[in-house]
């Protein structure tokens, strides 16, 4: 069954009170709840994206023995607001020969693709906009809009740097989608469903119950997914589309002000989403260790657990960016096609065989089961 946040809330008594307030019109109430929650989630994730730029600069400063932003607000925390004001007030320049419509459309496509993925990110068992049965599939599909945005941004600017950046971006996103999707498929096999609720429901709160440690193939799949996801979000060491030493700044060279800001924001939110998916699929998601009952106050605890896991992965992403050098284009493609894709297929077949051979038991279950 497809669950939504509305059907979750309708279990409780205050839903009936709300329904009376709306004169019994269920559709209108559902629409209102969706709109309110949508605004809330987008606002929250935009803030996380903004704080991501701050974290990026602060962590990179730590790694390089610098100080980083420290002037605006305590510890420089309000730097993101200062950046926002700066971007808003900058002149909006468009190249004379640019394709006007596509130039305006490209950053919006990127942002739309990322925001659309937020609909299925499982913040807690109730606080998930739509727990669809096709959750992961939807996420993979809709996030390809970002690739279209990157590509069109590169094309519409009518500049050679942008063009090269856009082409690299699109080809990279298409290529790395394959190992990422196949790794996700392996987890789908373990869980027996594509919805996030189903997948997290099959895991437990403690590490030995996570899908990452379910079997050796799933353990490998975790790393294949994470490397592929880094490449899909165009993060270093895979940030070839915006390689500043060769392409000035790639597909968004010609963008100024808030239009550039949209691209940057989309990238940071996409990193958050990708980390959230990794946390949900491989690291047990929002599961609270030892507690399996579902009452409303526990949603907050689940939310905190999910956010902690996600933000730790976010830290790892930034850490990798400032530690590893950038790959060459041919190296990038050979990593994808010669190493990650065969490994992902091996993981898929391995997981399938494991499920049949050991009747779906994880390693921990077999060890602990032997003691009893």
């Amino acid at each position: 069954m497809n669950q939504t946040v509305v059907s979750y809330l309708s279990q409780y008594e205050f839903y009936d009170v709300l329904l009376k307030l709306f004169g019994g019109n269920q559709g209108l109430l559902a629409l209102t709840i969706y709109l309110l929650l949508g605004v809330a989630i987008i606002g929250m994730c935009a803030t996380i994206g903004g704080l991501g730029t701050y974290a990026e600069r602060k962590i990179s400063a730590d790694l390089q023995a610098r100080i980083g932003p420290n002037r605006v607000g305590p510890y420089g925390l309000l730097q993101m607001l200062a950046d926002g004001v700066k971007m808003m007030t900058k002149e909006d320049i468009m190249p004379f020969t640019a394709d006007k419509m596509l130039f305006y459309l490209a950053p919006l496509l990127c942002l739309t693709g990322v925001f659309a993925t937020l609909a299925v990110v499982p913040f807690s068992s109730g606080f998930i906009m739509a727990d669809m049965n096709v959750g992961i599939f939807y996420l993979v599909a809709i996030s390809s809009l970002v690739g279209v945005g990157v590509f069109l941004g590169g094309y519409a600017s009518n500049s050679k740097w942008s063009m090269l950046g856009g082409m690299r971006g699109a080809s990279q996103i298409i290529s790395y989608e394959i190992p990422v999707t196949i790794s996700l498929l392996a987890i789908t096999l373990l869980a027996g469903g594509m919805g996030f609720g189903t997948i997290i429901g099959r895991q437990g709160g403690l590490p030995h119950q996570w899908f990452m440690f379910h079997n050796p193939f799933a353990f490998l799949a975790t790393f294949v997914y994470f490397i592929g996801a880094l490449a899909e979000t165009n993060r270093a060491p895979f940030d070839l589309p915006e390689a500043e030493s060769e392409l000035v700044s790639g597909y968004h060279t010609e963008y100024t002000g808030m239009r550039f800001g949209f691209f940057a924001l989309a990238e940071y939110i996409e990193v958050f989403v990708v980390c959230g998916v990794a946390a949900a699929l491989f690291l047990g998601g929002y599961q609270i260790p030892g507690i399996s009952i579902d009452i409303l106050p526990l949603q907050a605890v689940q939310f905190v657990i999910f956010m902690t896991k996600t933000l730790m992965l976010y830290y790892v992403v930034i850490w990798i960016r400032w530690t590893l050098p950038r790959l060459r284009v041919d190296q990038l493609m050979s990593v994808c096609w010669k190493y990650l894709t065969p490994m992902a297929i091996l993981n898929l077949v391995g997981c399938a065989i494991w499920m049949v051979a050991f009747d779906g038991q994880s390693i921990a279950e077999m060890i602990l089961g032997g003691q009893h």
């Binding site: 497809n2 559709g27 094309y155």
Partner: protein, 178 residues
């Protein structure tokens, strides 16, 4: 009400962008409008409760076909198509002339009337369905059907795709130097 809202917006997106595909003269813009139209079709599937088909539509067309089209147009020079004086048959302008418009109109009318005649028969015999907010999952059913009843078609199409993949690899392979 929620579903009506979704249906009307999806239908509007589909039709409006389909018309825009025809009206615009820039081939890159056509591709982008086509993308919007295909997303609208996915929305229509979703309102009918076919979640898996809707997402597959987005996956295949948005993630694959449209990006491939954009690549192809860009690599073959999209700008030159805007100011073409003649079409492939040597007729002036790409939008056709009196004769092509006339023939197109007649064919379109015949097609429309035939379709209306066919659809009238189908819609009359269908039971009236009330719109509910219940969306049962279609993933499991599709999986079972693909593996059990339609396994032959499934396997044949996968062999076909594998053949296409190998063929593409052979064409793109660097040739021996001599």
């Amino acid at each position: 009400m929620f579903l009506q809202f979704l249906f009307i917006s999806s239908a509007f997106l589909t039709i409006a962008s389909a018309v825009a595909v025809l009206l615009t003269k820039n081939i890159m813009h056509s591709c982008v409008f086509l993308l919007a139209s295909l997303i609208g079709v996915a929305g229509l599937y979703a309102t009918l409760g076919a979640d898996f088909v809707a997402v597959t539509q987005i996956m295949v067309y948005m993630g694959g076909v449209v990006i491939l089209m954009l690549f192809a147009v860009m690599l073959t020079g999209g700008k030159d198509f805007i100011s073409r004086a003649q079409n492939l048959l040597g007729l002036p302008a790409s939008m056709g002339n009196r004769w092509t418009y006339g023939i197109g109109l007649i064919v379109g009318l015949v097609f429309l009337l035939t379709n209306i005649k066919l659809l009238m028969g189908i819609t009359k015999s269908l039971p009236v369905k009330t719109i509910t907010n219940e969306f049962p999952s279609t993933v499991n059913e599709i999986g079972h059907l693909l593996i059990k009843e339609h396994v032959l078609a499934f396997e044949i199409s996968s062999v076909l795709l594998l053949g296409a993949l190998v063929g593409a690899a052979i064409i793109a392979r660097p040739r021996k130097q001599n």
